[in-house]
Each structure stands twice: as C-alpha cells, then as structure tokens.
C-alpha cells in the first residue's frame, strides 16, 4: 500500500498555547482585582476605567474568549490534524485566525474599560468588533471544514463531531444575538427589546456556556484524555448518544436564566424541563471520560497530567449536576441573583475548563518540543494549589449566596422584612468575599507556576515546527447505509454531518424565540408605558457605559419578600422600549427597577458622588466624574432616530428638537438640586443619570397591572 508523506503544523498550536497562558494570567488577574474591589472599592484608584462595572466584563471576556478560546483553537488545531491525518487546510487561514483573534482580544481590552459596551453579558463587544469576530470565526470554520474534507482518515472521530457542532452553533448564536443598529462608530442598540432581548440574550449566554465552554472542551477531552492515559475510549455507543442528545437539548435550556422574571411561563417551564433532561447527556461525557481511565487509575496517582484531567472531568460532572438543580424553580428562587451563581460558574470555569487546559498543556508542550516536562514536582504543586484555590473560591461563595438569599427573604413574626436594609445583607457576607479572593489568588499563582514550568520545558527541548507524518490516502469506497451502521455512514460525510447538527440545534431555538418575537399575548401591552425622554435615554446609556447592571438588577420577581422590599413586581409590558434590556443577573446592590421616586434628586447626587455618604459602609464605587463630565448631546439626534427605526414611537422629526426637551428636563433637576443647596451644572452627566433613575419603574406606579 502506498503512503503519502506530509507534515502537521505545530507552529500555530504553539502560538495559541502561548496566548492561552498569557491571556489566562491577565484574565485571572483582572478577576482577582474585581474580587478585591468588592470589599475594597478604593482599589479602582478613583480611575473610571478601572471600576467594577467596566472591568468585570473584561474579566469574563478574557477568561472565556481569550483563555479558553485560545486553548480551544490550539487544541483543535493539534488534534484535528492528527485524527484527520492531514495538515491544516490552509496555513494562511491558520495565521489569519490566530492574529485576528488576538486583535479582537486587544480591542476588547481597550474598548471595555473605555465604556464601549452593549451591556449584554458575554456579548459586550460593540458591533465593529462583532463583525471582526464573525470574519475570524468563519476563517476558523473554513479552515477546519477544509481540513476535514481533505482528510486521509475515513471516519471522523468523536472529537471532530464536537468541533463541528461548536462551529455551526456558535456562528448562529453570535449572529442572531448581535443584530444591532449602529448609532455611532462604537455605539449601537440591539433590535430586540425587553423580554425578547432577554430571551435572545440568555439563549445566547447559556449556549455560549454550552458551545464554547463545553462542547469544544469535550472534543479536547476525547482526544487528550485517552492519549494521556493510553487507554481506549470507554464506549463508542455512549459517545453517539450523548453527543446528539447534548446538542439537541442544550439549546432549549436558556430560559432557566430567567426564571420568575417577566418571561412568559411556558418559556420558563421549557427552560426548566430541558435543563433537567440535560443531566444525563452531560454525564455521558463525564462517564466516557472517567471510565476511559479504567485500568489506569494507579497511574493517576503519580501523573500530574491525569490528575488535572480527572479533576476537570469531575468538576464537569459536578457543575452539570448543579446546573439542572439550579433550574428547578424552587431552588432558583433562592440561588438566582446571588453569589451561588458565581460559585457555580467558577466550578465550571476553573474546574472543568481551567484544569483541563493545564492537563492538555502539560501533555502538549513536551510533545511539541520533543522533551520531558521540566518539573513534575512543580506540576503537582500547581495541581494542589489550583484545587485548593477552587475550593477556597467556591465554598465561601456558596455560603454567601445562601446566607444572603435567606436574609432577603426573612420576615419577622409581624410580617415585616427582617433585614430591610439591603446593605446589611451585603456586609454580612464580606468575610466570604475575602476568602474567595484568596481562592482566586491561589488559582492565579497556579497559572504563573505553570507558565514557568512550561517555559522551562520548552527551553530544554527543541520545537518541532512541522511534524513529519505519513498515511495512506483517502480511498472513496461506495457504501450503503446499513441498519445499525447509520452513524458510521454519517461519520464519513462531514457536510451532511454539519447540516444535520445545524438542524438539531436550530429546533430548540426556533421554538422558543419565534413565538416570543411574534405572538403578542406573550408581552401584554401597558398603555401607561411611554418611551424614555431624551435625557433619560442618555442617562440610560451612562448606566450601560458604567456597567451598573453588573451589580444591580432591574427585575422585581413575584415574591412577597421582593414586592415588600422594592415594590410591584416587574411586568413584561414595562420593558417594550428597553433596547437593550437591563435585568441583570446578580444583585450585589439592590434591585433598581422601582427606584424611581424612592429618593430625592439630592440623595442620588450625593450617593453617586460617594455612596458612603448616604449608605455608610457601602461597597458601591463612587462616581465623582459623573459630576464634572459634560453630557455629550450631539448623539441625541441619532439615538432618537435609531430608536424610532426599532419601533419606539417617537414622533416623526422629534429628533430635531429632542435636545430642547433634554435641556428643559435637565434644568429642572439642576434647579431642584440648587434649591436643596447643591449648585450642579445642568449639563453634567449626573443629571441625565438621575433623570433615568427617577424614571425607573414609575410608568405603572399607579398600580396598573
């Protein structure tokens, strides 16, 4: 049999590996900084670009898309070539992909602190960057599909199925969730509003977890774990079952981020039941990982790589058990908006993604540099530090979340809230915040250790840029679908495979999104709800720029403990002009949906200048710059026009005198402040923000349902 000689491209894998560690360290450092800011708000040094609301998105984006993202690409490029027995389709695309992705990361690191954000979680980047992401992502897809098509191996290995599903689904998610209309070069409004935007966002957000943090990593697990353990994969049948079940069911589960909100009940219920159904398919992956180690457990003890992988897969199992539990409405009623969610996310991100990443890197680097790991001892130390770090991170936050939630809900025997002062419930859990930052610090130390160890490893070896390989060429044999072998048939057909997985992932999304977009009864209209005034709209954009929504929710859930604390619960019809929705996902501070009219303008002025003036001990950062910065009113016209094009009923031509209304309203607020002894400039940003805050939730304060 004749064989063909070719070589694998290790260069791009090396680049991605370096980027993984580098951005990982940066992302985790930013995480540590915001964790400390939660008990030491001064740590932002009084610089607006470093406040919690602005760099929290930087942290999440860096860890998800830079740290995990680069590992995905590195791991895919390494394993895909080898299981396909082919070099990457195009070296140019590989390099384009690598440098394009790094450019996106740098752009994120610049624009997010500057306050250019859409306000949608994990999709904060503004539309020019979104476009770039689309181009680079497609180049990755083209390169991958190209490689699969010119493979020498007849069948596609299970890892490749996961890569294909990742590519098609992330493409769909990114495109649908990023449909936005530009106002200016770095500002846009999403076409969806309120409930629709919320559903779209969490359909995206949840499946970013599914198809960016889970499926590609399962693919990596299917390659690197059997390689490192030198054992056959436990069950091929199980791979098929859990792969298809996973990608089909995952898509439906998004609404579990919106339980007890203004989302229609039927969508919430779908979110709950599909999350529960997700348990088994997720565990299928864990099983296939752990049981592959049957007969290799003795090696786990003295092999740090396997140790990392075992903890990773176990953490995956734990968080995919916890996830469905958190989707049960009675559990969610306690966990939602608290630190429990943060703990859950980090068991996944640090445990599953973090630990698997390190396992893969410790295996990959010695291979590509043709040497041994520099220090097994250091790797072991890293393992223990990271594991301890995860425990230290998660346990205090579970405790914090449950404690705070119970305090929110506690009534006295007379039926009055026991802890009416929200801040009291925050101060109670500050010790937990301190502990968790220690956990984060340990994990960060771990990644620095790994960087040292990996650099030393590379130094002592010599890099194989192009790894020689040989294989028999692909022979196209005619075959028919046979009973029991349908999947074998499909594994030979990448295009059909990709199409089928597209159909499978589309179903859930369409069933949930389309009725919410189109069926009117899902969002009953409320006549008294009016569009924002120009000043309020500007204030709202300041709220988005400062990332107030990272700490404040704007959604009162239908619980007595919340309606007593905040006021009437939120109705779907109240959000129809909210492009984007700002419901938030975490209450570090109190809900703000009914804050309008609660305090005086003066209170807000002093509170924003320094929250501790009005709420002693508050951990909310001061925003003194809002008092001096001048509101940019040149954008008003464009904003009103874009809003109208999205269906907000501003009268025709209103954009031309919107700024007059804006000034009138601003003068009124400035006058009121002056009467109360504060001479404030009516063109300061704070005035717009106060106008927005005072408007919040007041449309239906008359009690209309």
């Amino acid at each position: 049999m004749q064989v063909e000689k070719f070589s694998y491209d290790n260069q791009v894998v090396k680049q991605f590996a370096i980027a993984t560690v580098l951005w990982g360290a940066v992302g985790m450092l930013v995480g540590l900084i915001i964790a400390v800011q939660l008990y030491l708000p001064e740590l932002n040094l009084g610089i607006q670009y470093l406040t919690f609301g602005r760099i929290r998105p930087l942290h999440t984006n860096a860890v998800i898309f830079a740290f995990v993202g680069n590992m995905i690409f590195g791991g895919v490029y390494y394993s895909l070539q080898r299981v396909c027995k082919a070099r990457m389709f195009s070296d140019f695309l590989s390099q384009f992909h690598f440098w394009g992705w790094q450019l996106i990361i740098v752009l994120a690191a610049v624009t997010l602190p500057l306050g250019f954000t859409t306000g949608k979680e994990y999709a904060e980047l503004e539309f020019p960057v979104d476009l770039l992401i689309a181009v680079v992502w497609l180049s990755f897809g083209a390169n991958m599909i190209g490689t699969i098509i010119k493979r020498r191996e007849k069948h596609m290995y299970v890892a490749v199925w996961f890569y294909i599903a990742t590519f098609v689904t992330v493409t769909i998610l990114h495109v649908v969730n990023s449909i936005e209309v530009p106002v200016s070069f770095l500002k846009s409004y999403p076409v969806y509003a309120g409930v629709q935007d919320a559903l779209t966002q969490w359909w995206y957000g949840h499946n970013a977890v599914a198809f960016f943090l889970t499926t590609p990593y399962l693919g990596l697990m299917y390659y690197f774990l059997p390689k490192a353990a030198n054992r056959p994969v436990y069950s091929y049948r199980l791979s098929i079952l859990h792969f298809w079940a996973l990608i089909f069911i995952y898509i439906w589960a998004g609404p579990h981020h919106l339980l007890y909100t203004a989302l229609p009940d039927w969508a919430q219920s779908l979110g709950t039941v599909f999350s529960i159904m997700l348990l088994a398919p997720s565990w299928g992956g864990m099983l296939n990982g752990l049981l592959t180690l049957r007969g290799a457990w003795d090696r786990v003890r003295d092999n740090p790589i396997l140790k990392f992988m075992v903890v990773a897969v176990t953490a995956y199992g734990m968080s995919t058990f916890e996830g469905p539990m958190l989707s049960l409405k009675n559990v969610n009623a306690i966990s939602h908006f608290t630190d429990w969610t943060i703990a859950h996310a980090h068991v996944g991100a640090l445990g599953w993604n973090g630990m698997l990443t390190f396992g893969v890197l410790y295996w990959l680097v010695p291979k590509m540099w043709d040497t041994q790991l520099y220090s097994k001892k250091l790797a072991n130390l890293h393992f223990w530090i990271s594991t301890l770090g995860i425990v230290f991170y998660a346990v205090p936050l579970y405790w914090a979340g449950i404690t705070q939630s119970l305090m929110w809900k506690q009534f006295t025997p007379l039926g009055i809230l026991q802890y009416p002062n929200f801040l009291e419930t925050v101060l109670q859990i500050i010790p937990m915040y301190i502990l968790r930052s220690i956990g984060g610090f340990l994990f960060l130390c771990g990644i620095l250790l790994s960087a040292y160890n990996l650099i030393k490893t590379a130094r002592q070896g010599s890099f194989i840029k192009n790894e020689e390989a040989e294989a028999a060429p692909y022979k196209n044999e005619k075959d028919q679908i046979k009973r029991g072998l349908i999947h074998r048939w499909l594994e030979k057909r990448p295009v059909q495979f990709a199409l089928l997985s597209t159909v499978v992932v589309l179903i859930g999304g369409l069933v949930e999104l389309i009725p919410t977009y189109l069926v009117k009864s899902n969002i009953p209209t409320i006549a008294s709800v009016k569009p924002y005034t120009p000043l309020e709209l500007q204030g709202r954009d300041i709220y988005i720029r400062e990332g107030c929504n990272t700490c404040h929710s704007q959604l009162v859930r239908p619980f007595r403990s919340e309606t007593e604390r905040y006021g009437e619960y939120s109705k779907a019809g109240e959000f129809v002009y909210d492009h984007p929705f700002l419901w938030g996902s975490k209450r570090t501070g109190p809900d703000l949906h009914r804050v309008g009219g609660k305090y005086s303008n003066l209170w807000h002025y002093l509170h924003m200048e320094d929250p501790r003036q009005m709420s002693p001990g508050s951990i909310m950062p001061p925003y003194p710059w809002l008092l001096t910065q001048v509101l940019d009113t040149t954008t008003t016209q464009a904003k009103i026009s874009v809003m109208r094009s999205l269906g907000v009923p501003y009268e025709k031509g209103y954009e031309n005198f919107a700024n007059e209304d804006l000034e009138n309203q601003a003068n009124k607020i400035a006058d009121d402040l002056l009467n109360n002894g504060i001479p404030a400039e009516s063109n300061a940003e704070i005035i717009a923000l106060i106008a927005y805050l005072q408007r919040l939730g007041t449309d239906i304060k008359g009690g209309a349902k």
């Binding site: 394993s79 299981v83 027995k85 069948h155 290995y157 299970v158 059997p226 390689k227 056959p232 994969v233 436990y234 069950s235 091929y236 049948r237 079940a245 007890y260 009940d265 039927w266 919430q268 219920s269 709950t272 039941v273 599909f274 529960i276 159904m277 088994a280 565990w283 299928g284 099983l287 049957r294 301890l388 425990v391 230290f392 405790w399 404690t403 119970l406 305090m407 006295t412 007379l414 039926g415 009055i416 026991q418 009416p420 002062n421 109670q428 502990l435 239908p558 619980f559 309606t563 604390r565 619960y569 009219g597 305090y599 209170w603 002093l606 003036q613 009005m614 709420s615 002693p616 109360n676």
Partner: protein
C-alpha cells in the same frame, strides 16, 4: 502530600469559624431546618459505619462476599460494564491517531436517568400547562400575598400591630435606646447623627413640615413623603420599631445640636 492534608484541615477550620458567624444571623426557623438535616445526615452516616463494621468483621469471609453480594449484584445490574479482562471482545477495529474505542453497553442507570428525566419533563409540562392554565408564577404570588394579608389582619385585631391611630409615645430608656439605634442606622444619613438635619429637615426644633406629635411622626415614617425624598419605611421597619424611632425623635426636642439646619414647616402645637 501529607502537608496538603494538614493545610486542608486548617482551612476547613477557618471555614467553620466563618460559618458559625453566619449561623448566628440565621433565625430559629432556619436553624431548626439545619438541625433536622444534620440529624438525618448523622443517622445515615451512623448506618453506613455500622454496615461497614459488619462487612469487615465477617472473619471467615475476608472479601465480605456474603454482605456485599447483593450490593455487587445491584452494581452489576446497574452498570453492565464489560470486565476489563474481556475488553478485547468489544474493542472496535479502528483507531484515530492511536486512539481506540471500546463499545461498552450504555449503563442501565444512565438510561434510567436519561429516559426518566424526559418522562419527568413531560409530566411537568402537562401538569402546569395542559391540565392547568399555565399561570404558574402569578398564582403562586397571589397565594403568598393572600396568606400574608390574613396574618396581618389577625395581628392588627390582636393589637400586636400598631398603626398611626393607636400609636403612643414611649419614654422608657430601653425603647429610646432602641429608637436611637434605628435612627442612627436608617435616618442619620439624611437627618444627621443628632437629628440636626442634612438632606432632610431638622428634627430637634419646634417646626414640622408634616406635623409633629407621635401620631404624625409615626405616619410620616410609615408612609414617607416620596415626592420630597423621604422614603416609606412600612415595609422595612415593623410598627414597634417605628414607634421606638418616633419616640426617640420626640426625645430630641430642644437638644439644639451644632450645625442645626434652619427650621422648616410650621410651628407645632399639641
């Protein structure tokens, strides 16, 4: 590795310390629940230890076959895994870059879980959205509010729940000091540490914007004056606390604190 264990122990101790402080914040009801759960967990652990003791004390049966047999059979039934020695029989004839695949049967417990959750999901949807009207959360909320209203009615009848009609000014030291605590915590940021007035008006003089006297003060505290920035406290402070705060405020009369804000409102005569 040993040192790691010691470290872990130390850290768990620290956790326990912090947990303790949190438990103190919890009220009796939650404590009760915690105690019950702990009791159940303890019983389960004791049962498990006893079972272990029995298994391993079986001298003539060093592998514990007698006691473990049912367990082993159950495990076998649930996993149906091919033993590792026979793994060659289910090894598939292909490899990908050296990775081979076994074709183990899908474990029955996995199938039970998989199909079980699907059935559960179907029942859930039928229950709430087909056999019921699907108004899940509003119903839940209305029930909760209705019950609370009944309880409140009862408390008002028994006199436990004061209102602006029935409230009286109190002057015993314990109440005033409670009132002071409440004042410092909730009111001082607007009215000043000694009631001298800041964002809100001076509370130590003769002049009252919304009426003086315990009934009016109680009323102002309870409902607030939202258009002027005084918030309503009725959902935050129970009536006894509002009474204590009002009594404390009355006790500030004539204290003439430094930096007193100009009088506002009308001179109040009882």
């Amino acid at each position: 590795m040993k040192s790691n264990k010691i470290l872990l122990m130390i850290f768990s101790l620290i956790f326990f310390f912090f947990e303790q402080t949190n438990l103190l914040a919890a009220n009796e009801e939650t404590l009760d629940k915690v105690m019950k759960t702990m009791l159940v967990v303890t019983l389960v652990v004791i049962a498990f230890v006893l079972w272990l003791a029995v298994v391993y004390s079986e001298k003539n049966d060093s592998e514990g076959k007698t006691f473990k047999a049912p367990l082993a059979a159950f495990k076998k039934y649930l996993t149906r895994t091919t033993p590792i020695e026979k793994e060659q029989e289910i090894l598939l004839h292909h490899d990908y870059d050296g990775i081979q695949e076994l074709d183990n049967r899908i474990p029955p417990w996995f199938s039970i879980l998989f199909y079980g959750t699907i059935i559960w999901g179907a029942i859930y949807l039928l229950n709430y959205h087909v056999f019921d009207d699907g108004q899940v959360q509003t119903k839940e909320y209305n029930l909760e509010v209705h019950q609370a209203a009944l309880e409140r009615e009862f408390l008002i009848k028994t006199g436990a729940f004061l209102n602006e009609e029935t409230v009286t000014a109190l002057s015993d030291a314990a109440v005033l000091s409670e009132g002071k605590d409440i004042f410092i915590k909730n009111c001082a940021s607007c009215h000043g540490q000694s009631g001298e007035g800041l964002v809100g008006p001076n509370l130590t003089d003769d002049f009252w914007i919304h009426g003086g006297g315990v009934k009016n003060i109680f009323k102002t505290i309870k409902y607030g004056v939202p258009q002027k920035g005084m918030i309503s406290w009725q959902t935050q402070l129970d009536p006894k606390k509002m009474q204590a705060a009002a009594s404390f405020i009355l006790s500030l009369y004539g204290t003439n604190p430094p930096n007193g804000k100009q009088p506002e409102g009308e001179k109040w005569k009882e």
